[in-house]
């Protein structure tokens, strides 16, 4: 099938490299010579009674000449035809008129095939062949008849010497059409492709076979139409069309028509059954059918080859693209079995491609996640696009976390053609995320230590209270004992008070230690109410010191979030402390900070920390979460940036609202624990 050299596709569509348009004068002269020669050959070689030729090859020369060299080649057509007509015995005036008619023929063909419906001269597309026949051969034949009728009417000598005028016109019509259809393609295709055929020996044997078959078909006197050798010619045409191209096929056609015409005119061959003009008519019909078949078949084969080549190129390009991807790509058939795996996928998995093809995708997933993947594949078949994270069982035996983006192939869920999956190794991404989380933890720890440093005085005061009380209780107890009032209930009261205060002090110390400890994030379910309570406890000393009232409200009902206790505590505490600090320098009479949480519809819990301080100027509102942005003389500007990072790492959002003069509200969201 691939008789053509690769890469000739473009050469057939555009003007081929190395083929340049000849100079008009040379083209005209060449056309004149060729036309004259073809005309003489037809007149002398296949003469019918009165000089009418069964096939008029000169018409093909004329059309090919103008198509190759342009309209000026028609000058050559004119000269050639004038001479041929004189040779045929017409008076000069008739010859002139007929030559002008031929020029019109060729110019019409040129106009239609280059301007109205341009064709590619390789004749390698069905469309081009159709146009060539409909707009080249047919008009040429029609115009030939028209010009001859015109000459007959006006001058009286129309070159229709036969008695049967209408039969003569029909033969002339067919002869011109055939001349264009058989001769022009040979000239055009050989002109467009000079190079010798790919398989020279095969081409030689093709030609030889054509000659032998034709000789057998047309020279054996006289055989009936429908005999085997005649139809064997179709086999040669098929051979040429399938193994070669339009050029070789049209060449075979030329040989065939040469033999057929010659045999018909020399009185032998299958068509010589009745009168010569009847024979000519049958011959023309036969040649017409074979020529059209040959041209269309050759073009169809070419088109198919070009299409296949294009598909192959496109597939190659896509395959290259897929193989170059950082992700592995697989396709699954309707039963979930791998029918394509990219090189990258094999590399990710550490398995040979041959071992993977035909396996169900679920087989390369670790045992525990097969059911989940099956479910995902089913969802994909129903819903088109699904992405899941699963662990693959690699050749090395180590499970590898990947994300699998699946897409259904085929149009409808009812007739799934399979699934394409893009498999991305997310180990690196995971590692980067873990590293970022670690950095955040370290930063958060530093932030907490810094917070504690700033809060130390308030906490010293907080711890001093129970210590003062303990001291007094103990001293009171001592005095009761010294005074011999051991039975006094006040003594028990004092001791109990001392005990309670000692416990309170130790709780405070524990709370501080828990808050400052450096530890890995642990996502657990945390009741919102206790989160808020603890935040209030931790910020109470500072609020107390700055005479700020703390108010709290928790979600109605028992709602919980999924978060790391210490980090979220840090966010709450930071926001409350910021609010207290904003109030500390303000002239507000009733300093108030409120901490609220409520459940939102989307499975989120929203926390809000509001103060009635001076608020945040609009120009700062956008920048307050930027690292190192601070308006405090002693602040490092990491508190809010840290809160932002922590909340985002929890999959939430932190934002601030403020109206100058009426305080600020900081909101953040966390996922509710009971929400998936």
């Amino acid at each position: 099938m691939s008789a053509r050299p690769a890469g000739s596709t473009t050469a057939m569509i555009d003007s081929p490299p190395g083929v340049c348009r000849p100079h008009w004068f040379r083209a005209a002269v060449l056309t004149a010579v060729a036309y004259f020669a073809a005309g003489l050959l037809a007149l002398d070689g296949f003469p019918l009674d009165g000089g009418l030729a069964g096939i008029w090859p000169a018409a093909g020369v004329a059309v090919a000449g103008v198509l190759i060299a342009g309209p000026l080649a028609a000058l050559g057509v004119f000269a050639g035809d004038f001479l041929v007509e004189l040779q045929a015995g017409f008076v000069p005036s008739s010859a002139l008129a007929l030559a002008l008619g031929t020029v019109v023929e060729s110019l019409v063909a040129w106009l239609l095939l280059t301007r109205v419906r341009p064709i590619d001269l390789h004749l390698a597309r069905i469309r081009d062949v159709t146009r060539f026949i409909a707009l080249g051969a047919v008009p040429a034949a029609v115009l030939c008849v028209a010009s001859r009728l015109f000459v007959l009417a006006v001058i009286g000598q129309g070159g229709l010497p036969t008695a049967d005028q209408s039969m003569g016109l029909l033969v002339g019509f067919l002869g011109h059409g055939l001349g264009v259809m058989i001769v022009a393609p040979v000239i055009l295709t050989w002109y467009m492709r000079h190079a010798a055929p790919q398989h020279v020996f095969e081409f030689a044997s093709l030609l030889l076979t054509a000659v032998v078959l034709n000789a057998g078909a047309f020279t054996a006197t006289p055989i009936a139409p429908g005999s085997a050798p005649l139809y064997a010619i179709f086999a040669v045409v098929l051979w040429a069309a399938l193994r070669f191209g339009p050029r070789e096929t049209s060449t075979v056609m030329l040989v065939t028509s040469g033999f057929a015409t010659w045999s018909a005119s020399s009185g032998s061959g299958p068509f010589l059954v009745a009168s010569q003009s009847d024979a000519l008519f049958s011959l023309s019909q036969f040649l017409l059918v074979v020529a059209a078949t040959a041209l269309f078949l050759a073009a169809a084969v070419c088109e198919r080859q070009r299409y296949l080549r294009r598909v192959a190129e496109s597939e190659q390009a896509h395959r290259t693209l897929i193989e170059q991807m950082a992700e592995g790509v697989v396709t699954l058939d309707a039963h979930g079995r791998l029918n394509y795996v990219s090189e990258r996928f094999c590399a990710i998995l550490g398995q040979a491609r041959s071992r993977l093809l035909g396996l169900p995708l679920t087989d390369v997933v670790v045992a525990g996640e097969r059911a989940a993947l099956c479910a995902a594949l089913e969802t994909c078949t129903a819903a088109r696009d699904v992405t899941r994270e699963v662990a693959l069982q690699t050749g090395a035996g180590i499970p590898l976390r990947v994300s699998v983006a699946m897409r259904r192939l085929g149009d409808t869920p009812r007739r799934p053609a399979g699934i394409m999956a893009v498999v991305a190794d997310i180990t690196e991404r995971r590692r980067a995320e873990e590293l970022a989380q670690l950095h955040l933890q370290q930063l958060a720890h530093l932030g907490r230590v810094k917070s504690m440093d700033e809060m130390a005085t308030a906490f010293a005061h907080e711890v001093a209270q129970p210590l003062t009380a303990i001291t007094s209780y103990a001293q009171a107890a001592q005095r009761f004992l010294r005074a011999g009032r051991a039975a006094d209930p006040a003594l028990a009261e004092a001791l109990e008070g001392a005990y309670n205060e000692a416990r309170r002090a130790s709780v405070i110390v524990q709370r501080i230690r828990g808050f400052v400890q450096d530890r890995a994030a642990q996502m657990v379910e945390l009741p919102v109410e206790s989160l808020i309570g603890e935040a209030l406890h931790l910020s109470a000393p500072e609020a107390h010191q700055h005479a700020v009232d703390l108010h709290a409200g928790a979600c109605p009902g028992d709602c919980s979030v999924r978060a790391d206790l210490v980090q979220i505590q840090q966010v709450l505490l930071n926001l409350v402390r910021n609010a207290i600090e904003a109030l500390a320098g303000s002239a507000v009479a009733q300093r108030c900070v409120s901490l609220n949480a409520y459940a939102r519809e989307e499975g989120l819990i929203e926390f809000a920390v509001a103060d009635n301080g001076p608020g945040i100027p609009a120009e700062n509102l956008e920048r307050i979460f930027d690292p190192f942005f601070t308006t405090k003389s002693e602040g490092a500007g990491i508190g809010l940036a840290l809160c932002h990072s922590i909340v985002e790492a929890h999959g939430g959002r932190l934002w601030a609202e403020s109206l100058a003069g009426s305080g600020a509200v900081f909101h953040f969201t966390l996922k509710a624990a009971n929400h998936e």
């Binding site: 003062t468 009761f480 008070g497 205060e501 309170r504 010191q545």
Partner: protein
């Protein structure tokens, strides 16, 4: 809030926002047979009509809303004469000085020694009629202050103005250790056992500097 005050018996009014401190002070005063009435804040104390008998106020200096100083000033404004012993957190020298200037007769640093507090309260009850405040006593002052070296006088001035040792060291261009040594020496020479006494003495002698800011300063960097 507890023992019913008898009209003639001496009574101690305790104002502290911290319930445990209030409760422990009540027991401490009860242990020596004093009647006690506790208040969680200045406002509720001011709202209470005071009895006829000898009385003493023991109040925390740092409280939300109305501070101990505000309470003293409110009492002064009303003309209510009641001896007040203020309890201050560690390091609140500036506040202590202001308290004494506002009419407190004494201040005691937390955590305090029971005897110190009881002595102060008993003294206050005995001299309940004595006018609060401190009158400069030049003779007494001269006797004490003359013993100090010029550098010690400088240190004294800075200490009672509420400056922490670190800042004093910087101001005088000496080391913190040297400041500590000077402090110890001058307290020995002036025969005072506590910062409160030192401040009181300094006030009597007219040495105590007025705190630069009128607010309740937070001397977080104070170190002894």
């Amino acid at each position: 809030m507890n023992s019913e005050p008898k009209s003639a018996a001496p009574i101690v009014y305790v104002v502290d926002d911290e319930p445990a401190v209030r409760d422990s002070l009540r027991l401490l005063f009860q242990s020596v047979g004093l009647a006690v009435q506790g208040f969680p804040d200045a406002a509720s104390f001011l709202a209470q009509p005071l009895g006829e008998g000898p009385a003493c106020l023991v109040s925390d200096l740092r409280m939300p809303m109305t501070s101990g100083i505000d309470l003293l000033e409110a009492l002064q404004k009303r003309g209510t004469r009641i001896p007040a012993v203020m309890i201050s957190g560690h390091g609140d020298v500036k506040l202590a000085v202001r308290a004494l200037k506002s009419g407190a007769i004494d201040f005691i640093e937390k955590p305090f020694d029971d005897q110190e507090l009881l002595d102060a309260v008993n003294g206050a009850l005995k001299n309940a009629q004595r006018s609060p405040g401190i009158e400069p006593d030049s003779a007494e002052c001269g006797r004490h202050v003359d013993q100090l070296t010029p550098r010690e006088k400088e240190v004294l001035q800075l200490v009672v103005s509420g400056k922490p040792n670190k800042l004093i060291a910087r101001a005088l261009d000496i080391s913190t250790r040297t400041v500590e040594a000077h402090r110890a020496h001058l307290m020995e020479k002036l025969e005072v056992g506590s910062l409160a006494e030192l401040v009181r003495l300094a006030l009597q002698c007219g040495i105590a500097g007025v705190p630069e800011d009128g607010q309740a300063g937070n001397l977080r960097n104070q170190s002894r």
